[in-house]
Structure formats: C-alpha cells, structure tokens
Subunit: 351 residues, 2 copies
C-alpha cells in the first residue's frame, strides 16, 4: 500500500469519526425536566438557559410554595427529572423519572420505607435543598438565641426609665452567652453553620447525631448520655427532621430532663416535639422560654396551648427564607444538574 | 570585738529592722474608697474583702442606677478613691481624691475641657467600666442585626400560613448577612468584640476611628472617605460616645449619604444623632429601619417623632446589662484597685 492509499484511508477514518460523533450527538436524548417551582421570568430564564439544550416542562398549575406539595400532574409522567415538590405517589407511577430534586430541606413525604424501597429498586435518586436553607436557618437560630438573651421582646415593648425597677429587672435578666452550654439535637448542615457562628461566643456546644462520623468537631452525645447533657444545657436547639424515628423525640420525659430555666428552640419540624408537654413546661416555668419556627400543625389553630403563653415565641416557618431564595434554589439545582449529566456525585443526596 | 558582741550587734540590727518595718507598715495610709454602687450583701462583701485593709465608705443614699449621677456627698470629701457615679463638681472639690473609677462606659459628665484640665493639674486618674459592657453591647448589636435580617418583629406577630401572600412576603424580605457591608462609627472595645462575632458571617466591615492606630485589623475610613463608605453600607452601626465632637455626628447630611434601604443601629449615645433627621429618613423609607438602644432623652417623651414609626425599634438602654453586672463591675474595679496599689497601669483609663 502506497502513501496515497494510506492518506485516503486516514482521511476516511477521520470523516467516519466525525460523522459517527455527530450521529451520537444527535442521538443524545433531550432530557425533560419537570419543574413546579413558581418563579419570575428572570429565574425561569436562568433555569431554562442552565439546562439547555434540555427542556423544562411545567405543570398546569404551579405549587403555591416550596413547602406545599403539588397535585399529581400528567406532565410528570413524561419527565426524566423533577425539580420542585412533586407528589410522592405520582413520582412512583412516572416510569421515566430517574432523579427528583426537592426545593425544601425536609423530605418527609418521601421518607417512608415504601418509597425508599421503590426508589432503590428502579434507581431513582432523591436530592434536597438542604444547603440552600442551612445558613439562613442557622442565622434564624442565632437570632432567636440573642433576641432571648438580650430580652428583645420585653425591651422593645417598654419605655421604662433608667434606674426604674422595670429597667433594673430588664438589665438584670439579660444574659451573656459566654460560658453557657448548648445541646444541638441533630447534626447536619444547619448545625455545622451554627457551630461556626457560635465559635466567638465562647459557649460549650455538644450535639446528638444518629450516626456519629467523628468529623463533627464537637462532642457527640450518644443515646444514654443525652439526659445528662440536657440537664446541663442552658439552650436546647432542636434541628431534627420529620421522620418515623424523630416523632415526639422531644418528649415529656426529655423536657423534664432539661435544666430548670433552659431555653428550647425548634427549627427542625413541629412533629418532633410533644407540644402539650412543651406547653406544660413553659406554663410551669420549668423552661424559661421556647422559640419555635415550626409547629404541628402550621399555623397552630386558635386556642392551641402554645398560643398566648408569654414565654413562647413563634415565627411561621420562615427560618430558611432569604431574599433571593428562588435564585439560590435554581442555582443549587443547576449545580446538581451538571453533576447528573456528568455522572458526578450529587450534592445533598438523601436517597 | 569578740564573737559574743558581734552576735548581740547582729541581733539588735535584726530587731531594729523588724521594729522599723512594723512602724512603716502602721504608717501605710488606710485608703478610703467612696462607693455609691447599690449592691446586695454578697457583692458588698466581695468589694470590702477585695480592698481590705482599706476602707469602703458609702454615701447616705446610694445612686439609683449605674447611669444616674448621684448628688454631691460629704463622704466624698474624705475619700481617696471614688468607685461609682460621683458628681463631677463634687469630685473637683474633694481634695484627697486621686482616682475615680466609673461604673459606666460613658463618662460624658467628666469629658469637658474644664474637668480634664483640673484632673490633669492635680493628677486625678479617671477609669471607666468599658470592658464590662463591651461584650454584652456587642451581643446586643448582633441581636438587633439578626432580629432585623430574620424579620423577627413581623414574624413573631403573625400566624400566616405556609404559602400565603404574607408568608411569601416575610420569607422574601428576610436576608442573609453574608456578603453585606457594615460601617462601624467608632472603634473601641465594643467594635472589637463585634468584628470578632461577625467574622463567621462573611460580611465586609469597615470602621471610623478618631485616631487610627493601625492595629484595628479592618479598614479604617478617614474623614473624607466616610460618605462613600456610608453610600455602600447595608448596616451602619453607631458606637460613638457622647462628647463635644460627637454631637449630632449622625447628621441629616450623613443620613442622606446612606444607601437607600440601609439599616441604622445606635448603641452609643442618643446625642450623637440628629433624631429629627433620623425620623424623617425612616418615615420616607430612605432607611429600611433603625434599631436604637439609646435616645436623647431617655426615655423619649410621648409624641416624639421616633415613637410609633413601624420601622423604629427601641430598647431602653439595656445593651450593656447582663445577669451578674454588679459582680463584674466590682471585679473590674478590684482589678484596677490592685493596679493602683501596685502602681501598675490601669485598665480602661480615660484620663
């Protein structure tokens, strides 16, 4: 074979490679991404440009909020990916779904043995938006701790004069956080942010964790030592998600084990607390106060025992909120979307 | 001279030394420490034991608070040291006074050219309790910043449901501190504590300081660059003490120079702010909100323009308060008292 033939063969090989590669490229499936997240035009464009050439498909009626599940939607049945708050039952009957990315940190509706088994069987991945909410949630906890220690609810509501009895009482019941002890119930992204923010305050911080890994950087209390930890803590911060193990974890017994005068915070889920027992502990003065961002149900119905207590402070599940929340949710999804396309490990994978 | 005589001479010399030393000791003046700080028995004992064998003398009527000046007291005229809130004029006519230690961080009544000159002439030292109040004050500022960014005043007052318009508004107007810019007006003990506490939040922090020393660890804005700094700041924290230079430092002009939507905090003194201009900036919405622990006067009289504004939040000069305040004040004084006796440099010397 002479140099000319060899030359032509090489050229043909190259041409073939180019043709095949173009063929492959045209064969790459256009992924359909179901998204029920209600966003404005800028954020919608951010999402659509971010996934192009893949396609965003939308339900007829967008979900009202990141915390409300949307109704089953026929669009879901043709989607490869769902981004938002899809219905758990609808997910299981949508045969093409390979990955769902939830716009919440909580994933209670999916955290059942039945769903886990079905997801495992068909290789369905589930990720959540934990990283998006961890920092604002940690700042919300610290806002609660400082508002309490600086007695803001009382202080903002009085014009008592310097030296008056009310003023001396207000200054005298204000507290420095330095030297006080905190128990964190649960150790995930929020706890890590919170520990970092509490570092300059010189507090003693311990935590509970279902499966301690040794990378926590603080002492982890195992089951039998929790009661002793609660008995010493000035602040008990509940960060537990809602799952079958966590239901009423903060029980009457654990509330009774807390140090008299302790302050209880809940930024996890309302179902993890025996609210009747909490109301009793607040009414008796066993606990100094409770600061709750979550309750069961939300909002609490009029006449609920936790309402109207002067030492129970409730925000309406706003701890994770922040100005550009839709944008950070979409950017977090897009980060995971690139990982999906590249076959790289997900962020915030929960199943 | 034989060994016996030498022996007796040595013995006499030793005896003489002992007698002289005892004589000297009996000649050490018992210092009289005037204290008008109202304390309970435990803290009174702490003070008395701490200065023994020197003597604590008390006015007929103790001062009502650490912020109220007491009336001139005859006991002051025989005191060497005053610990509390002595009257400035009475101090100047008390010939034996060599040192006054104030139970406040502020020392406005003493910070006049006349008092400074008189104190300088007779070698009267003045120390304050700045270190005692710096940490609680810094925690009070951060409580304000986080209460605002997490929208606690609104959040604690609503039971709006997940997904409602009020709820979306509340979450959407909540803010993360990360990336936001802070200008501190004044750089002393409180600022140092605050900078330390803000470190994990990832904010950009700059400050003003009368005499920059290069040891601040953050950028110091000099006079002409302050307006530009104010125009960029999301948070302006006023820590200025009350003195002739600081009167209405936060003027209508400087308020106008602030970024639209900025939040103003005052933990210094009320006199440092043009309150009419502040009220106007809050009413027009130029500033998002003001959080004040100090006003001029305190409390504000009914009908004052700053009262009743939905975006003006006021605590009644309680930022420095903390549970065991009398104890920390006395311990701080005792620390300085030992320095006085030993001739060592004072802590928190202001004159």
């Amino acid at each position: 074979m002479g140099p000319t033939e060899e030359h032509w063969i090489r050229l043909c090989e190259i041409a073939l490679r180019i043709i095949r590669s173009n063929l492959d490229r045209s064969r790459v499936k256009t992924l359909k991404i179901f998204s029920d997240l209600a966003v404005d035009d800028d954020i919608r464009r951010l999402l659509e440009d971010g996934v192009a050439p893949h396609q965003v498909i939308r339900p007829a009626k967008p979900a009202a909020s990141v915390l409300a599940k949307s109704e089953p939607d026929p669009a879901l049945t043709e989607a490869d990916i769902a981004f938002g708050q899809p219905d758990a039952a609808a997910v299981l009957v949508s045969p093409r779904l390979r990955w769902i990315h939830l716009t919440s940190a909580g994933y209670t509706r999916f955290d059942t043995p039945g769903f886990r088994a079905a997801a495992g069987e068909r290789g369905l991945a589930v990720t959540n938006s934990s990283m998006v909410y961890a920092e604002p949630c940690a700042q919300h906890v610290l806002a609660f701790m400082l508002a309490h220690s600086r007695r803001l609810p009382t202080g903002l509501g009085t014009r008592c004069g310097n030296g008056s009895a009310a003023w001396l009482q207000l200054r005298g019941t204000s507290r420095l956080l330095r030297g006080q002890k905190v128990v964190l119930l649960g150790f995930g992204s929020i706890a890590r942010h919170l520990v970092e923010m509490l570092r300059p305050f010189g507090m003693r911080i311990v935590a509970t964790r279902r499966k301690p890994r040794g990378d926590e950087g603080i002492e982890i209390l195992t089951g039998e030592r929790l009661a002793a930890g609660l008995a010493e803590a000035d602040h008990v911060v509940n960060l537990l998600p809602d799952n079958p193990d966590s239901a009423h974890f903060v029980s009457a017994e654990r509330l009774a084990a807390m140090k008299p005068g302790a302050v209880f915070y809940n930024i996890g889920r309302g179902t993890t607390v025996d609210q009747a027992a909490l109301a009793a502990a607040l009414r008796s003065g066993h606990l100094d106060a409770a600061w709750l961002d979550v309750t069961d149900p939300e909002p609490l119905p009029p006449g609920h025992p936790l309402l109207g207590l002067p030492n129970c402070f409730i925000t309406p599940h706003t701890a994770g909120g922040h100005g550009n929340e839709s944008e950070t949710l979409v950017r977090h999804f897009l980060d995971n979307f690139r990982r999906f396309v590249d076959g790289a490990p997900f962020l915030d994978q929960v199943m």
